[in-house]
Symmetry: C2
Subunit: 211 residues, 2 copies
DNA sequence: AGTAACTTACAATGCAGTCAGTAAGTAGCA
DNA sequence: TGCTACTTACTGACTGCATTGTAAGTTACT
């Protein structure tokens, strides 16, 4: 048995280099999809060969999950975590995010493409998106419950559905906006829909469709 | 010049055979995505080689656009076209569709995957989805205007946004439902959200987030 | 007789991942 | 401080596989 000193720490520049790769991968995967986005193109963008990327991340699958995590962190201000804003603060934050998103179509496209692609057979990003939606639904629902409590609403019947709907409408609007930005106002429509859903959750009115 | 009778009519069974292929392609593309869904797998499902499929459709790109058109026709009852139901009928139809969709996850997945994939670079389905959303938005907006008129609402300020939101929430819910059907009620949540959006469009209340 | 509806065989890419090798950094030690 | 041993961070070449499209041949309908 040798006195093995195996496993040296990574070099100081390595962390920055990895972030470069993750940013490039987010761009390529966003533009062309995960399946259709070759490692070689990502490599080219950071001045490397595709083998160099595999050296850092092991496989394309693992690169994707790291890209998704990276996107969370680099997201302007992480929605989740932190102080869990009590009442209306989370919703204001969601609407601000929608406004910010109008200035970064690349990120929006990456998210829209990769989340939908994640439902396909044996996609490596699936677990990430399952977890993400579960966490986000929980946080939005919690914010709804806080608002209900503040306003003395006892029976928050539709809190779960409202939370799910808020996230759904934001995602769905992104796809329509990406397809035709001249016809869809991403932020203004997000704000309208979120308000509509919140109002119905906090203070329900009868359905306009029942005869 | 020979008395060429070039171009013989297709044989009687051909139309049915093509439909078989389209159905198989919809299933494969839905399950694995367009880029990741090989022709060979579609061919296998209809008992053919991939060259046989290319004989019928010429290229994979052209197959996709025909698949998308086919999906419209085979959709239980086409939302668009026909009699353009005057008032609340369209919304009831949308909600019924959401209930029907809970029984056919394959179709839902195909739609979710292919619509998101269509925003990627040079995707052959893009034009189809652009057109489709434009048409659907117009029809839903028209239905909103009809409801406003029936109820004597003069200023339908948010009709366009409401129409966009209704479609968006339905699409977004599908993705969440596909990721975790045990946590998301597709139809019930669709109904809740559509009602919330419709109520706010027909009879707006002030935002709960101001002040 | 001619063509539709295929099949088999093949051409041409594109792509992830492996492997051996190289240059440069770092740790331990004299 | 300088030397040695080992590791990281790559490159280039290659393998192997998957995949779309084409071309030529076969069968059977009309």
């Amino acid at each position: 048995m040798a006195t093995t000193r195996r496993q040296l720490p990574p070099r100081p520049e390595t962390a920055a280099r990895r972030r470069e790769i993750l940013a490039a991968a987010l761009e390529i995967f966003g533009a062309k999809g995960y399946n259709n986005g070759p490692l070689a193109e990502i490599a080219e963008q950071v001045g490397m060969t595709h083998a160099g990327i595999l050296h850092h991340f092991g496989s394309k699958d693992r690169l994707l999950v790291e890209v998704l995590r990276y996107r969370d962190e680099s997201d302007v201000e992480g929605i989740e975590g932190q102080h869990i804003p009590g009442g209306t603060e989370l919703f204001r934050h969601l609407i601000r995010t929608a406004f910010a998103n109008e200035e970064r179509p690349g990120i929006v496209q990456a998210y829209a493409v990769l989340s939908a692609e994640s439902v396909t057979d044996s996609n490596p990003g699936r677990e990430y998106f399952e977890d993400r939606y579960r966490v986000l639904r929980g946080e939005v629902a919690e914010a709804f419950r806080a608002m209900c409590a503040e306003r003395g609403v006892d029976d928050p019947a539709h809190v779960e559905r409202a939370a799910t709907s808020v996230l759904a409408v934001m995602d769905g609007l992104q796809v329509q906006w990406l397809l035709d930005p001249t016809q869809v106002e991403l932020a203004a429509t997000s704000a309208f829909a979120i308000e509509a859903i919140a109002l119905q959750a906090l203070d329900p009115r009868p359905s306009p469709f029942d005869a």
